[in-house]
């Protein structure tokens, strides 16, 4: 990869003062960890952590034609979204390949905020422009900043900034005054924990993070990096674009059929996905838990006996379960309820791996 100037989020220098280890991610210089992935992962599961997600794309879709435009672009039913609600969906090509996965938030009848992956912003916006209907404007957020506060303690922290935010239910969204500045807050996340995502221009979101970082003596909320974000999402079995999802895989292969609204009317990819649904997918995303010690990684081979049947798309050591876990695509011929005992090739060794249902990690009610 040629070296180009990496983009920095508004929080870059705060991360540096917190001792973050910074890495390149989708053209951005992002904190992969602060204290350590394990500590940050556990903090989010037990208390709360805050992630800088300013690299994610924030695209405003507005105007009288906004609903129609989105309805044609994404797989989820945008018309069914009341103002103040958000939902997960996919942007697909005509052949059903996934251009991106995203969240659509409806702030008002003709105002939507679409949050997309950092690595796909340019492709997404070009695609959306191409398929934009009449009376619709697409605007990328200027100087975007975003934070995700996640964990069982997230609500009590954000409640000190705004009581109104606590009225939000899961997948709820609204515009709130935080420290006297407007920001979009959604009760969503990518960790499996309760939490909030806060979007807005840098000047509005920055004071929030600053206050969080000053408050750390209480260690109610700690700074967390992309490393923990990845282990947390993987424990839940959430897909990550570029790993489980890409233009060569369909949402049905990735078990995201639940994010497709079949009866909302036509949308890009609808016909191809319908055909795939009727005929069956060629491969399926499965979840594996190692029966032995080891850490599966992306590109490790998946076998059934001596037969190679697929490959790992994401793997890690699960900090909550203390065991290696993986997601990977397997040839549909070998996806049968009776076939549970697979092996994953790790450093040339076939490690026993059991096919398991998702999520890997289930919260125990304490």
């Amino acid at each position: 990869m040629t070296s180009t100037t990496l983009r920095r989020t508004p929080f870059y220098f705060l991360h540096k003062t917190k001792g973050a280890r910074l890495v390149e991610f989708a053209g951005w210089e992002m904190p992969v960890q602060f204290e350590g992935v394990m500590a940050e992962h556990r903090a989010v599961r037990q208390r709360a952590g805050v992630f800088d997600i300013s690299h994610m794309g924030q695209v405003w879709v507005t105007g009288p034609g906004a609903q129609e435009t989105l309805q044609r672009l994404v797989t989820n039913d945008v018309a069914a979204l009341a103002p103040g609600r958000g939902s997960y969906g996919l942007l697909c090509r005509e052949d059903g390949g996934v251009i991106d996965d995203l969240y659509v938030y409806r702030l008002a009848p003709d105002r939507f905020l679409v949050v997309v992956n950092a690595s796909r912003v340019e492709v997404d916006v070009a695609w959306m422009q191409r398929h934009r209907g009449p009376d619709t404007e697409l605007t990328e957020q200027l100087q975007p900043a975003a934070l995700a506060v996640q964990g069982p303690g997230a609500a009590s922290w954000i409640g000190r900034v705004s009581k109104d935010v606590l009225e939000l239910k899961k997948n709820g969204v609204g515009e709130f005054s935080l420290w006297g500045r407007e920001g979009v807050v959604a009760r969503t996340g990518y960790t499996g924990e309760d939490g909030f995502e806060i979007f807005g221009p840098a000047g509005h979101v920055f004071p929030l993070y600053e206050s969080l970082m000053k408050d750390d003596a209480s260690s109610e909320v700690i700074a967390a990096g992309l490393g923990a974000r990845d282990t947390l999402r993987l424990e839940m079995g959430y897909s990550l674009y570029g790993h489980e999802l890409d233009e060569d895989h369909s949402p049905l292969e990735a078990n995201l059929g639940w994010a497709i609204s079949w009866n909302k009317g036509d949308f890009l990819g609808h016909a191809a996905l319908r055909r795939e649904k009727a005929a069956g997918s060629r491969r399926k995303l499965l979840a594996f838990r190692l029966r032995e010690r080891g850490v599966p990684r992306e590109k490790c081979g998946i076998c059934l006996g001596d037969q190679p049947v697929g490959g790992v798309t994401s793997g890690t050591f699960s900090p909550s379960l203390n065991v290696g876990i993986a997601l990977g695509y397997v040839d549909a011929r070998f996806v049968q309820p009776s076939l549970k005992d697979f092996t994953i090739e790790i450093h040339g060794r076939a490690v026993a791996a059991q096919r398991v249902p998702l999520p890997f990690y289930k919260k125990t009610t304490s």
Binding site: G227, R293, V295, F317, H347
Partner: protein, 130 residues
């Protein structure tokens, strides 16, 4: 173990006078939370620079190279069971395996602790921790 008695490689392994091999404090810090250690097989003969063990963090796997020629005589089962020992005690309970040295003089050719620290200082910020 007193790190002053150890000899170090540029790839961040150490070897004690009696042939115990581990990773440096700098290495464990860079790797961060060690979650898996795969030591070499006992009886395996290794050449200096051979990848012969694997240490993994949550995020990545790291090859651990043989510091000198020799034969593996023992592995640290405790560290295999509790990989966090590599972080907690890189120069003690976190040793990985023991080597019967082909020639003890080979060890003397490696860096002393002071020499290793100078090496780290000279290479600080090079962007390639391991």
């Amino acid at each position: 173990m007193d790190p002053e008695t150890l000899r170090f490689t540029k790839t961040h392994e150490w070897i004690s006078p009696d042939g115990a091999v581990g990773i440096s404090d700098h290495a464990q810090h860079e790797i961060t939370d060690v979650v898996f250690v795969e030591p070499p097989a006992v009886g395996r003969s290794v050449k200096a620079g051979d990848p012969c063990a694997v240490v993994e963090s949550v995020k990545a796997a790291f090859d651990i190279y043989a510091p000198i020629d020799g034969t593996v005589t023992a592995v640290n089962e405790e560290a295999a069971k509790n990989p966090a020992l590599l972080n907690q005690s890189p120069y003690g309970a976190g040793w990985i395996y023991r080597l019967q040295m082909a020639a003890a003089t080979d060890r003397e050719k490696l860096m002393t602790h002071a020499g290793y620290k100078t090496f780290l200082a000279e290479n600080a910020g090079s962007g390639s921790p391991l």
